[in-house]
């Protein structure tokens, strides 16, 4: 593994090895895999959980974390090749990535979609630009398409809570939310569940399909691992008999540039697409998962997220452990 950019950066076998490492690091938090090494975290967008867990992961492995906040809500690096830079961007990603590589041993980058064009966003030009030009390993801390550290933490949590996930039913379900949110989290849990050979029910209203290439990759991975992916259009159908309910809202690719249309269209979906005790009662003693932050009473009711079936704080904690496993592997 040169970079860790997506769930597919790790084979199903390598994923299990990383998760075993993470289990060990959970038992024994301190190490020296990053002794004398610096990890530069480049945030184009705000972060609480990711920034904290990466910082502490680096520290507890004996390394030095460094956070760089690039800007608030704007892309401030040019990523296009061969351009005359007389516009708004003062630096090319080529130069930023090469320079930072002279100072630190690992770069970790968060760059949310710009939301001007799905065709451009889905290429994750900032994160891919760092991966192309950096001379040190690059870890994706969430782009438009992937949030691979979250996906690993989710899978670690599933293994802790339900044991071997192969062939187990998981409902990955859209939920209503006032805003149009990114797709990186549903994409990543979908791909991780597929690599683990789970019986995946992906639920969303018509018009909220995930990216075609992600769906194709998930189908192929799941089939190869003895699992499968079935798309349904009702949360109720998805959660029936599930061992895991993974809730997350995301925006529609069809309405990517017309959020007002999307808001109007999804008005009627609000009640049906919220995780309630009634929905959880349909599961096979299923656990509730969400990457956080979560809007209580909107995505999920308090009675569910505050119940013993809720795994959300373990998911968050496991970010720390899987990121250590990734950090230790990527420098070794």
């Amino acid at each position: 593994m040169r970079h860790f950019l997506s769930p597919t950066s790790l084979s199903p076998e390598r994923t299990r090895e990383i998760l075993t490492m993470a289990d060990q690091l959970k038992l024994n938090r301190f190490g020296d895999a990053l002794k004398n090494k610096s990890v530069g975290m480049v945030f184009f967008n705000p972060s609480l959980r990711t920034r904290t867990s990466m910082d502490i992961a680096t520290y507890e492995l004996g390394g030095h974390p460094l956070t760089l906040n690039i800007g608030q809500g704007t892309w401030s690096l040019e990523h296009r090749e061969g351009i005359v830079m007389d516009g708004e961007y003062a630096e090319h990603i080529k130069d930023a990535a090469r320079v930072l590589s002279r100072y630190v041993d690992i770069l970790a980058v968060r760059a949310f979609p710009e939301r001007k064009s799905w065709g451009i966003d889905r290429q994750d030009p900032i994160i891919e630009g760092f991966a192309k030009y950096a001379t040190v390993p690059v870890i994706n801390l969430e782009g438009a398409m992937h949030h691979p550290c979250q996906g690993l933490a989710d899978m670690m949590t599933i293994r802790e809570r339900i044991g071997e996930p192969k062939a187990q039913p998981i409902a990955i379900t859209w939920a209503w939310h006032p805003k149009a949110l990114p797709m990186a989290v549903p994409n990543s849990i979908l791909l991780e569940a597929a690599k683990a050979g789970m019986d995946i029910r992906l639920a969303h209203p018509k018009g909220w399909e995930l990216d075609d290439e992600i769906m194709q990759t998930a189908q192929n991975l799941a089939t190869a691992q003895g699992g499968g992916v079935r798309v349904v259009h009702s949360m109720k159908d998805a959660v029936e008999g599930a061992k895991v309910v993974y809730a997350k809202s995301w925006g529609s690719i069809q309405h990517y540039r017309s959020p007002d249309d999307e808001t109007r269209l999804k008005m009627s979906l609000r009640n049906e697409w919220r995780v309630t005790e009634e929905q959880m009662a349909r599961t096979d003693a299923g656990i509730f998962m969400h990457c956080l932050p979560v809007r209580r009473g909107v995505i999920v009711d308090d009675a569910v997220i505050d119940s013993p079936q809720s795994a959300v704080y373990d998911e968050a904690e496991n970010r720390l452990h899987v990121q250590k496993a990734i950090l230790a592997s990527i420098v070794s």
Copy 2:
């Protein structure tokens, strides 16, 4: 002590023990009380002194400091229970506090009053929310009601400069300032001076009374420790024969939501409520104190703050030492 939220988190006896620890840490700056421990500092508002002194305190005790800047001038966490979160807040304090508790060993939080309602602000919902939900100790780095680290540093400084404070006269005096400032600092020095049994003269114009509950607690503490609290309405009366002049501006609770009225009302108070050499001449060789930042020529004249009687830089330095004593105590 589970959390350190207010001067009353420490009994008078425990306060003296903490100050003795701080004296020792001033002589011998380095220790390992925080070895392998992380301190997460959560700032809802900007900070220079507090952020720097907490960071260095953590480092010099062998720990790892981590600063999280939540937002600029706005509350970005929901603190109300059982609410449907379809408004502006994307995360509940319950979830943020529980998640951060999985990553760090101590949380330290600054959250200034929102200034919409004194009734709500005086409950310090953000800091109290962290204290309620966090599973690690919480240190208050200044809320609407308390700035307990400042109060301890002030008392350490008083002991250094005038010796045993019991029964010694201290003037805690309002000063004119163009803005309506928070009350956390006057509340905290008032409560610390009361715990130390000082002879407290609290001076402010009519209409600038401190919170009733704070006043009652201060009266009770002072009386129990052989001191007292007397309210006067002139700086001149307060400083007469004082060993300590503690100046600070604060806003009026009466005009909490009408700052324009307050500005108009206090126009005439400007000259009378500034610490001048003339005022200091009335003291018993008193020292001058202020928590900083201070507006020179507004709160205090250069001739006073730059004189040998000024203790302001010692006060600032002592933040470092008392915070180390608190950090070391709270994890032990």
Copy 3:
């Protein structure tokens, strides 16, 4: 050396010693010169390279780096003496510098020009204020007049690439840029090249003269070291036979407060004042240098900056090594 504020803080002899130290630190990155020491970096303006290289330099010497971001694009400390502070500034630099000196062992400050008055900006009141009031050493991380760490990194790079610089021809050339940029970088490379006794050709259009005092100092230093400074008004004349081409844009002092006039005046200069392969062909196998960030296609063509003659990434890396040499020297 009490503070490191400008290239002239170091004599030509001491400069060579620092550069020799930097060479050694490049071979052997880790040390303990800053053991138990904290370096407070105070940024009044954003930074990527400087912040990262100072942080890593401090860490790799065993010290503790701390970044303080003061404000975005505004001066938030009063620097005038004896003023009544009833305006926008809430703290005096005198107090901020004295307080921070109680917490950290070294202060490093970046404060760009305010661009209201060249007469005031050229005095660098913020950085000079810190130097005046701090009780610990102060390092200039770029003001209006100097960027001395950059100048040292540049000279280290020149020595690596062309050997002993004495009497070697260097072209320091203005380049077109859409904005009016600061003069700190050209001033610093000019003074460093002068201290090294180089044969300096300083090229800029008429009206873009550097500060008179800087020019006089550079002339004196160059002459004393067996070199010289010649001003020309064409990039072509400057680069002829040069061993080094150092490109940088800067704003005109004459039009300091009328940027629109400057934009209009320089419109016609765009093509002539860009570093192209054609310009580089006139040199004596010269290297290309720029401090970064750089606008590709505006200051320099891709074919030049991406060629083996380009030293820009080494320049950036060398910031790390020279800053370590400065940090280690200033505390010893």
